[in-house]
């Protein structure tokens, strides 16, 4: 599948001989597919860079994209697709950015500057360059997704102080082992930092409590107790209560409440703070 040395030489010769025309047409075709999301000048620079790396690689014998001499070309391709992936271009747009060069070659063939047989051979190389771009693109996107998942994990587990000596953990979404671990660490650290004797774990936002979720919550409560803090579980909705009973999960002597407000009232009463409703003062 790789190009022969002669073919490679002819390709580089062609690219060098028609440098201005190739870069111009290449940039034009890519620009049309991007609908102006990248400035002409920027695009031209990137295309020029690729064109130059192809010619440089050709000097060492550009027979295949994986070959020794194509290292710099691979770096340039990777750089381009990484940049495009970050700017939110689709995989197709990134690949088309390279495949546009095939259109340019066909145009050159129509003008009689290159033989059709060579266009087919060069096309194979460009296809492999496109696939390489595609792989880098996917790799970059996967990296972005992993980063975001991590950020989400950080975001989704806040521990908030809601009263003197009372911290609350509002849990939202699925409580898997990774999140349960983060929640436990955060809660225990906050208990130490704030010296709070009371913690409320609110599960209003947890759609389903199965044995694994229950086990994670129980472990967190036990750990908090070991540190001398009292834990209350709040936000147990009717359907969750019935499911927990049917599953046979025992919360033992852990206080549970239907709402966060009930839990806070319970803690305040324990600590001797009375919450009383004041009579609204009448306007004179």
């Amino acid at each position: 599948m790789a190009l022969t040395a002669e073919e490679s030489g002819r390709l580089v010769g062609l690219l060098a001989a028609h440098a201005e025309r190739v870069v111009q047409r290449w940039a034009d075709i890519v620009a049309a597919s991007l609908h102006g999301r990248l400035s002409q000048a920027e695009l031209r620079l990137q295309v020029q860079e690729l064109h130059r790396s192809m010619i440089d690689a050709g000097a060492e014998g550009l027979t295949d994209i994986q070959s020794e001499g194509a290292g710099e070309l691979r770096a340039a391709l990777a750089e381009l697709s990484r940049g495009w992936a970050r700017q939110g271009f689709s995989a197709t747009e990134t690949a088309v950015g390279l495949y546009a060069l095939k259109d340019v070659l066909v145009e050159l063939a129509e003008a009689g500057e290159v033989e059709l047989r060579d266009v087919v051979a060069f096309g194979g190389l460009i296809d492999r360059m496109g696939l390489f771009t595609f792989e880098t693109y996917v790799h970059t996107r996967e990296g972005l997704i992993a980063d975001q998942a991590e950020q989400l994990l950080e975001l989704s587990t806040p521990v908030v102080k809601i009263w003197d000596g009372v911290v609350a953990v509002p849990l939202v979404g699925t409580l898997d082992s990774a999140r349960a671990q983060v929640v436990m660490e955060r809660l225990l650290q906050t208990l130490v930092d704030t010296g709070s004797p009371h913690a409320i774990i609110d599960i209003t936002g947890v759609p389903a409590v199965d044995t694994q979720v229950a086990q994670h919550i129980l472990k967190t409560v036990v750990a908090a107790r070991l540190m001398g803090a009292d834990c209350i579980i709040s936000g147990i909705r009717p359907q969750i209560a019935q499911t927990i009973v049917a599953l046979g999960i025992e919360f033992g002597d852990i206080a549970t409440k239907a709402s966060l407000a009930d839990a806070l009232r319970h803690v305040l009463r324990l600590t001797g703070v009375e919450a009383a409703r004041r009579q609204p003062r009448r306007e004179a």
Binding site: T174, A208, D210, T211, Q212, Q239, L247, I249
Partner: protein
């Protein structure tokens, strides 16, 4: 039947923790579509979560297939969890509350049985396990 709701059988491979979440979401979607009550939805989703995790942890992965069933009077959701793992050597013991070989609470299989209307386990040592559960609308 509600227009726009797809009630054809749906399958979901179970090979990772994320797949357990996907099974849960799939089951919830179907349970809502056949108009199970909120309590029954939650019960079925929880049972599916337990069984999907069993399929993953003890069965070494497998699949879940969710179908809408109709007995002429009412509709329900049937889920089949299948794996080709080692099977369950002693089913009665496995269905005992608090019995676990994996460090959990030991309530997954027995609890799931209490959460659904019909519960059936086919298993043979070395031949995998197939758990079928059904929840009917009221």
């Amino acid at each position: 039947m509600t227009a726009g709701v797809d009630l054809s059988p749906k399958a979901q491979a179970i090979g990772s923790d994320e797949d357990v979440v996907r099974v849960r979401q799939l089951v919830r979607t179907v349970a809502v579509a056949v108009k199970l009550s909120l309590v029954d939805q939650t019960k079925l989703v929880t049972a599916a979560s337990e069984l999907a995790r069993n399929t993953l942890i003890y069965g070494g992965g497998g699949s879940a297939e969710v179908t809408v069933v109709d007995d002429g009077r009412r509709r329900g959701v049937r889920i089949v969890f299948a794996d080709s793992g080692p099977g369950i050597p002693d089913l009665d013991l496995a269905l005992t509350d608090g019995y676990t070989t994996g460090g959990g609470l030991g309530l997954g299989l027995s609890g799931a049985r209490r959460l659904v209307d019909e519960f059936d386990v086919e298993t043979a040592a070395g031949n995998g396990t197939r758990v079928t559960v059904t929840k009917w609308s009221r």
